[in-house]
Subunit: 178 residues, 2 copies
């Protein structure tokens, strides 16, 4: 991979803008990947992420049992794969094979990175107290990877029913807001 | 206002893409507004939103005491106001006056809408059990408003330190994903 390690203190900048992500897990030797849009940063450092994984998703049991996952951030080049992964179940389909995605071993967790995504956040489950009521997992990012060549990634932002807003131009204003 | 009521079942589409929002509260007759990027949908209907309001923010006490707020969604036309509200404290500044924002009474909650924002979600605090540990409030959206004239709002998405990605073009793919 041409990716390099991203300091954990900068990980929030990948998720705070709200992109659709691919969440990968692995259980009993079977990797899986799901599409996810319901996530938020909870803390800068160590980076904590809250994300909703419905108990109707095949990934739910894997995430609960293994307490490990990777949050992979795709760009619009992967639009078909993102929608494909959202409309199929890992209970029936090997999504990596079906959608031509490449699993790469993570450095610190037992879940694969998606090579085609421009950034990958290796995570451990840090808190499951909100799972029963909201299917909300608190994840700690323990390792972050990024493709340094991509300075303005065209991330996808879900509006519902297959409609996505694509990341547009960037602006900068004087601000003390981290 | 030229805004119209948006069915609550459609409210998620406003927040799922991850825009920066302005959170308004009101306490003891004093309205306040803060800039917020850490939020996620938790449920479609009734719409539940998880959002982080730091206990260092002046809005924290108002939100906890009144259990009411409005999530207002700005476009890039309000970029200076968004950054201004993020870099000042309601403890010292009347931000509505300072930044030329117009408070409008909400229909169902005791917190003002920001008239200049293209969408407004009136919310009640539904669960405070994650506040002590994560400053994470669970809000229920009880009334939603939208400017129907704005079909592709140029929302702002925070990357950190005053850098924002602006909403770009939209694409649509066949999908069963709500």
């Amino acid at each position: 991979m041409a990716k390099r390690s991203l300091p954990l203190a900068k990980a929030y900048g990948l998720l705070e803008p709200g992109p659709v992500v691919l969440l990968t897990t692995s259980r009993r030797g079977q990797p899986n990947v799901m599409t996810m849009s319901w996530h938020t940063m909870l803390e800068f450092e160590p980076p904590l992420v809250g994300c909703v994984v419905s108990d109707r998703n095949h990934s739910f049991a894997a995430l609960k049992a293994t307490r490990a996952c990777v949050i992979n951030v795709p760009t619009a080049k992967l639009a078909k794969q993102v929608v494909g992964c959202g409309n199929t179940s890992g209970a029936k389909v090997d999504k990596f094979a079906r959608f031509g995605l490449t699993p790469v071993p993570a450095a610190q967790v037992a879940a694969p990175l998606v090579a085609e995504c421009y950034a990958n956040l290796e995570c451990r489950v840090a808190d499951t107290r909100m799972v029963a009521k909201y299917c909300l997992f608190v994840l700690e990012v323990v390792q972050a990877w990024i493709d340094p060549a991509l300075t303005n990634p065209r991330t996808m932002h879900h509006l519902g029913w297959g409609s996505f807003m694509l990341a547009g131009r960037r602006i900068r204003l004087p601000s003390k807001m981290r």
